[in-house]
């Protein structure tokens, strides 16, 4: 944001630096490692009792996974899934945020949007797949449309609730200091809805990714991670199925924990500044 660089230089306050304690990095990551580790452990213990064609060992699947990095069918699948996500998710976010903002200003539109959302929410996103396959054909257009339908509404709802709940004092203060309508929107409504925008983006991401994989699995496309996993299932290739699950989970977790978390801390920087110190 713009408020960082110019300000810190002029400040002469000597704030006590908060140094991270030794081992705090380890402490921070331990819960994540424990979560991953316990899942893998349960899998491995079960694998001891089951034949390999029903449940392969954990190391075998990882070996297969690294081997598959040269398998064009698999990597192309990942690529096309990510491409669809890269189109569908931002469109859904922008679309949802715009609808939410408009609804925040217009009471009638808010009622309309809420009912629209409750109808769309009642329909599982993948039920749209056959409809759009007939309309748009197999492939990207269908899947991206399904992603948008599945993930715009958490964003729209989140932003709508935020604009409706904007602090009255914040608005009146701006009016007292001479703000016009546009300034109210850009200087109070927008920054005040930003936390909701971030929350909406996080929920929307989960929806987008799940509907993407599901849509690929039920036949919206002939390439992609979801498609790959279903196809491996049909030929009873358990290693391939597990490998797909691993990749699907990892991609989502990494994007969520790293990318969205980074975005959150950047946009809502003021919330993460420690009490009693500037930086």
């Amino acid at each position: 944001m713009s408020q960082t660089s110019s300000s810190s230089s002029s400040s002469s306050a000597s704030s006590p630096q908060v140094r991270p304690k030794a081992g705090s990095l380890w402490q921070k990551w331990l819960p994540y490692l424990a979560a991953v580790g316990s899942l893998l452990a349960i899998w491995q213990i079960a694998a001891f009792f089951l034949p390999a064609y029903l449940l392969p060992d954990v190391p075998d699947v990882f070996v297969r996974l690294f081997g598959s990095m040269n398998d064009a069918e698999f990597t192309d699948g990942i690529q096309s899934s990510l491409l669809r996500l890269a189109w569908g998710y931002p469109i859904a976010c922008l679309f949802g945020a715009a609808l939410g903002l408009i609804a925040g200003v217009s009471q009638a539109f808010a009622v309309y949007l809420r009912s629209l959302i409750s109808i769309l929410q009642a329909i599982p996103p993948i039920t749209w797949v056959p409809f759009f396959v007939i309309l748009l054909g197999f492939g990207n257009a269908t899947i991206i449309t399904v992603i948008v339908i599945a993930s715009f509404f958490p964003m729209a709802l989140s932003v709508l609730n935020a604009t409706e709940g904007v602090n009255r004092t914040h608005l009146e203060l701006a009016r007292v200091l001479g703000a016009n309508k546009l300034q109210l929107l850009t200087k109070v409504f927008a920054p005040e809805s930003l936390p909701a925008f971030v929350t909406g983006a996080q929920v929307a991401f989960g929806n987008a990714w799940r509907s993407l994989i599901a849509a690929e699995m039920v036949g919206g496309a002939a390439i992609g991670l979801g498609y790959y996993s279903r196809w491996r299932g049909e030929v009873a290739d358990m290693e391939g199925v597990l490998m797909s699950i691993l990749v699907i989970g990892t991609i989502a977790a990494v994007l969520d924990l790293v990318l969205l978390e980074w975005l959150k801390r950047r946009l809502l920087r003021y919330r993460y500044v420690k009490t009693g110190g500037a930086e």
Partner: protein
Amino acid sequence: MQTIHVDHATKRFGSLEVLKQVDFRLEQGEFAAIVGPSGCGKSTVLRMIAGLDHPTEGTVSANQKPIEAPHPSRVLIFQEHALYPWRTVEKNVAFGLELAGMPKKECQNRVDALLKKVGLSGFQSYYPHQLSGGMRQRASIARALAMDPEVLLLDEPFGALDAITKITMQNELLRLWEGSGKTVLLITHDIDEAIYLADTIHVMSPRPGVIVETIRSEVPRPRNRNGADFVHLREKIMTHLDLAK
């Protein structure tokens, strides 16, 4: 400079009468206070002068012109939640100037000077949640002063502060006001605060809000909170509020 005239203002919210025939003048450069219990409608009077509310009957005018909308020459200081949490102290103080489109450089100089004046030098890049209650209210006051308003409207500005900080802030406020020529209207439920700060005290009683008495304080400054005339004034106000034994 402006003279504010609240002319037989009555305010109703639905069937609820909040204010009844409130009538007083705010002379240029005077420090006035409205004192009364919570919910007596004193904030509504302030909001009407700020242009955020309008009387149901009667008028509220500045220099004989009815007040229709907020104007930067009359700035309201709120009790709390008044700083934007996403803005640093200096960005908060600069908010009004930014709205008016003042050049960055000029804005920065003015903000720095004001922060120094209210004792917040060096806290430019702090966020509100990093400050104590007293410091936040200092920043609020600095933001209002940045507009160089003719009239300052204070809505229980120190109500959320502890007793000791409150006294410090009252002295600060006096220091900032003295010689500035600004008109100040303070809303408070703290009788001592009103007597310590104001020259004109309007005593308000609730349901519906009416001004039961207007007292011109003759107590010389700096005022001794335990002086005989101070105590006498306190007793007088308490009698008007039916608080005396």
